[in-house]
Amino acid sequence: MPAIFEPGFFTSSPVHVALVAGGAVAIVSAVIGVFTVMRGQSYAGHAFSDISVTGGSGSFLIGISPLWGFAGASVLAAAIMDLIGIRKPRGRDLATGIVRGAGLGLAALFLHWDTTQTSASGVTITVLFGSMFTIASSIVPVIVAFSLVSLGVAALLYRPLLLSTVSTDLAFARGIPVRLAGAAFLAAVAVAVSLSAMTIGAILSTALLVGPAATAMRLTSRPALAFAWSALISLAATWLGVLLAYDSFYWPPGQHGWPVSFFVVTLIFVFYLAAQPVASRRARAGRASAPAGGE
């Protein structure tokens, strides 16, 4: 009978790193994710995750922490997407698609060089699917700092972003610099995605960005609570995922742990499905209290 906390869980330093870095990143992705989903920018978020692959695979070629590669590539992509015109209704998918395509092309080259010209084995798996237990503890302070900056931007722009998300016309009428706020937010999405590329992997980071946010938005109609629920769900999925992955070393048939990212992403999906009864009850209540037509 396997234990809930297998021996050594609380004393293992890779576990500490995974809990701290994974936890910080979970909260950032979840908070930025609510705005991302509300603003209909999930595809842009997904593009950043693809482009992180480019940066991550490039960073192994020049021997720096993948975090710098993830963040550098995503923020650069955000700037190019803004220049192409992501704020325009039609420009949105266009800017995202063009930049994403170009980025993935480079990723193909970088991953090819990674696997043929360097001794870094398993780079592809690390970049794509992350490895929370192998994060260098030296990079953890940078992860926490990036997390705080990203959360700070979200907190600072909370009301202007919320209003311009509801309607850019209303925001313009109040003198909110909609374009500037949108660009700052896009940069925050880029940073959030590159952070989660470090923990659950570049290709899976969309799951952390979109999953908890989408679940939270089904649970509550209050904006502040949506952010809180999203953060809570994301943190729970990440920490439970770390625990399960650690325990899986002890599971039969033997001595090979399962990937953390698998558990985190699966838990996020399970939470989303579990929210269904709450969502449908809320929808029924909403219809009952707000009949169509006037008074």
Binding site: P160, L163, A171, A173, R174, A290, E295
Partner: protein, 298 residues
């Protein structure tokens, strides 16, 4: 065109400007001309609004109603002329102050999946332009509650804005625009896509707000009949030019023909006003772009 309840005879629009103590001028549009993409959209438009005045900005689609509202908001810049709001020029710098002008944009699509309640949107009317996280306070909540009550929206205050009906959303938009206490309220086609009952409710709500809170209300519409019973002033836009005054002085065959630059007929049918292109005696309407080639109500 659906049947709507009869408006009072348009020859006698309700006109409640009393002679004593002329109310302060809230909006002055002074010879404003606007060019968009090389086309002259507005030509030398001038009119003014006083406190508590309820004005209809009437014109067909493409007459320049939205452009005029955007100029007043400071979002579009005129090539000549000036806008003064409360005696001060309106431009993008004054707009940043927020709250001087309440604005309800043309029908916006609100996503039902968005976790934003009616009361949240009204609250953003108070401080949506501020940086940092909102601090919940009793005073803020009471102001939002009072505003929701003033527009009759208590019943759906906690529902998601995206789940509300068109009429309910208009009430919330009006509350959002009014809560910061502006002296001028601009509404862009607020009656479009509303059913008859919601339309009447929104019109009477706006008329009440204008009088009770002494707000100058300027409401754009392509159909003037719902507004006739309560309108103090009509600002009629046609061919980029404007005529402004009491409805019974402006909505006349001579005035509107002059404005359109060709003959139109103003007909009164069962208390409703219908503007028709072409000479009454001519068998065929002239092919010039008029109010409309075929008869339709405005």
């Amino acid at each position: 065109m659906t049947d709507r309840p009869l408006a009072p005879a348009p020859q006698h629009p309700s006109h409640t400007q009393d002679a004593e103590a002329p109310p302060a001028e809230v909006l002055a549009v002074d010879g404003v001309s606007v060019r968009l993409a090389g086309r002259e959209v507005l030509k030398d438009v001038r009119f003014s609004l006083r406190r508590g005045e309820f004005a209809g900005l009437i014109g067909s689609n493409g007459a320049g109603k939205t452009t005029l509202l955007r100029v007043i908001l400071g979002l579009t810049h005129p090539v000549s002329g000036e806008i003064r709001v409360n005696g001060r020029p309106s431009n993008r710098h004054t707009r940043a102050r927020g709250g001087a002008i309440g604005y309800v944009p043309q029908k916006i699509l609100l996503d039902p999946d968005m976790p934003v309640r009616a009361r949240d949107l009204v609250g953003l009317g108070l401080d949506g332009q501020r940086l940092g996280l909102p601090r919940p306070s009793r005073i803020r909540r009471e102001r939002v509650d009072a505003m929701l009550a003033a527009v009759g929206a208590e019943r759906f205050a906690d529902a998601r804005v995206g789940n509300l009906s068109g009429g309910e959303q208009q009430r919330i938009m009006i509350a959002h625009a009014l809560i910061s206490g502006p002296r001028l309220l601009l509404l862009d086609e607020p009656l479009a896509n509303l059913d008859l009952r919601s339309e009447q409710e929104v019109v009477s709500l706006l008329a009440r707000i204008a009088k009770e809170q002494q707000v100058a209300v300027l409401i754009s519409a392509h159909e003037m009949n719902p507004l006739l019973p309560v309108m103090d002033r009509v600002v009629y836009l046609a061919a980029g030019r404007a005529a402004s005054g009491p409805a019974d002085e402006i909505v006349r065959t001579e005035v509107l023909s002059e404005l359109y630059g060709h003959h139109v007929d103003v007909l009164h049918v069962h208390g409703r006003v219908i503007v028709v292109a072409g000479r009454g005696d001519a068998p065929h309407a002239p092919p010039t772009p008029g109010p409309e080639e075929t008869a339709r109500t405005w």
